[in-house]
């Protein structure tokens, strides 16, 4: 498929005639010639090529170090954490949003003196489930391969209301933590609690999220209107790894943080 000895058969017939003629004239009739020929090809790098030993042995210690770090057990998953086990919230999404809120809050408090109110991630930002069994840093790389940082966004009450409306209307389940959204049986908003208190549209809120969702701007739909953004220089993946190290056993279930009454 890839081993095309590629040549310029895409050219129009006329051009072929022109350039072959030129080639013929220049390279064979005239001493003051031009570039006579170009060959292009794409060579696949596959198992038919031997590996250079000195390169392999140079890479080995780097790879061994990565494997040792990524594959050493940090925590235990008593059950699989999935992204499709609930209607409005999932065990894997809840685990990630809980980690974000829990790990970002003390740093944000130390840096600004403010309390975090809730956390929001996007469904697509959680790239993998976690299977039952030993949990390693490699899981964190699978879940969060991108270099996304934790950002804390300050939002007005009305902007939070808009964000809640976006979460309700979204076709995918976006993970949240620190907030409870209850819909009535028709899917209309019944109640919102933030940190156990009823939502107050007259105050501002501090929301932990991924810098990707903040920089994505209004087109992504999450944060259309923000008052300020604080960067805490903390990779989401590192927050996940730090949490794995602290937690002996991972805990998160599908719960009532975002539900629709029947």
């Amino acid at each position: 498929m890839l081993n095309k000895d590629t040549h310029v058969i895409g050219l129009k017939f006329k051009q072929f005639v022109v350039f072959t003629t030129l080639c013929f004239l220049f390279s064979c009739k005239q001493e003051t010639g031009t570039l006579s020929k170009i060959d292009g090809k794409q060579i696949p790098i596959d198992a038919s090529l031997e590996e250079v030993d000195s390169i392999l042995s140079f890479v080995a210690p780097y790879r061994n170090r990565i494997d040792a770090v990524l594959d050493s057990t940090l925590a235990y998953a008593p059950k699989p954490f999935l992204l499709d086990d609930g209607d409005r919230n999932t065990s894997m999404g809840n685990l990630m949003a809980d980690i974000l809120l829990e790990e970002a809050a003390p740093i944000f408090k130390a840096r600004t003196g403010n309390e975090l109110d809730f956390a929001v991630l996007n469904h697509g930002g959680v790239r993998s489930i976690i299977s039952a069994g030993n949990v390693t840093a490699r899981n964190a790389y699978e879940v969060m391969p991108f270099e996304n940082y934790i950002s804390i966004v300050e939002m007005s009450g009305s902007a939070v209301r808009e964000l809640i409306g976006f979460l309700i209307s979204a076709s995918r389940v976006h993970p949240i933590a620190g907030m409870q959204i209850v819909l009535d049986k028709n899917g209309s908003l019944e109640s919102v609690n933030i940190q156990g208190e009823p939502f107050d549209e007259n105050r501002t809120y501090f929301v932990a999220t991924s810098n990707y969702l903040v920089q994505g701007g209004p087109s992504i739909g999450f944060f259309k209107d923000t008052i300020s953004t604080t960067h805490i220089d903390y990779l989401l993946r590192n927050a996940i790894i730090d949490h794995f190290k602290k937690a002996d056993t991972l805990e998160a279930t599908v719960d009532d943080r975002f539900i629709q009454l029947k």
Partner: protein
């Protein structure tokens, strides 16, 4: 219509094979010089081959294999240059752990001659890129990123010339607009300049002042876009006068064969890109006659 195209193409191809073969035979006594240009793009920290269990690229890629291939080709033709079109960084834990150190060290071991800078090469910030520069024995080339007000000032050249077996090759680099792709926090005061204006300036300088026989652009602009406002390699090829080869990246485009476009002078320009992740090595062989002037009009085809 389809059938007619097929017949036309077949006729063209066989004509070419015939004439190409003839002209090569006829010219073989003229002291032909051969320059080989090898290239990769968007390797994204893929150092090991993909695992055999990988659903898309099982047991493909791997820099230790690429090293063998490059060595073979260099043994066959010492007049070989090796380039990369950017996005060296980001994609495996090798980058997360070592920040690009291993990528640069290995490219140096393979004797890469130069690379341009991709958007992901800013992923650890401009300071993160600077930190790895001591590990690169190859040149970093970019003409349309102005690093004057950054820590990378003086570390990147707009172009570089190589004298290989009496053939002078000029290579300039072009990078993609960073705004919207890379956080400002990472690229800081790096200034993105219009790639087309810079390209015209570079190729004129390489042609007229440096008297280059062959001009190569290492581009991380991307192969082709639906939106004509977005600068691309295909557009660049058609807007320039002297550039012979555009080695592209960014769009991870697997071209079955190098694309040929016609430039402002009516000459052919090759545009090539070899996908991503070190799955392929691009190889372009240029044959010069004794007078060593390059013009892609003289392309002949061998199959």
């Amino acid at each position: 219509m389809k059938r007619r195209d097929f017949i036309t193409n077949t006729a063209a191809a066989s004509t070419l094979v015939g004439l190409g073969g003839f002209s090569l035979n006829a010219c073989s006594g003229l002291g032909t010089k051969k320059l080989t240009i090898l290239h990769t793009n968007d390797v994204h920290s893929h150092i090991d081959p993909f695992p055999s269990s990988h659903s898309q690229y099982p047991n493909l890629g791997g820099i230790a294999r690429r090293a063998t291939l490059v060595e073979q080709i260099r043994n066959e033709n010492p007049n070989t240059l090796l380039f990369d079109a950017g996005d060296i960084f980001q994609g495996t834990p090798y980058f997360n752990f070592y920040g690009g150190e291993l990528e640069f060290k290995l490219m140096s071991k393979l004797n890469y001659d130069a690379s341009t800078i991709g958007n992901h090469d800013f992923d650890n910030g401009i300071d993160g890129l600077l930190a790895q520069m001591p590990h690169a024995t190859f040149e970093m080339i970019s003409a349309n990123y102005d690093f004057s007000n950054t820590v990378m000032d003086g570390m990147v050249k707009p172009f570089k010339t190589y004298l290989v077996d009496g053939i002078k090759i000029g290579v300039y680099g072009l990078g993609i607009a960073l705004d919207g792709l890379v956080t400002k926090r990472l690229y800081k005061e790096t200034e993105y300049l219009n790639p087309f204006e810079i390209a015209l300036d570079m190729e004129r300088q390489l042609k007229e002042e440096e008297q280059c026989d062959l001009i190569v652009c290492l581009s991380h602009l991307g192969y082709d876009y639906e939106n004509p406002q977005r600068p691309s390699d295909t557009q660049l090829a058609q807007l320039t006068y002297h550039t012979n080869l555009i080695i592209g990246g960014h769009t991870h485009t697997f071209l079955e064969k190098p694309d040929v476009r016609i430039n402002k002078n009516g000459d052919s320009v090759l545009v090539n890109q070899v996908g991503c992740y070190g799955l392929n090595l691009g190889r372009i062989d240029f044959y010069f006659d004794a007078d060593k002037n390059a013009s892609a009009n003289g392309v002949s085809i061998s199959v």
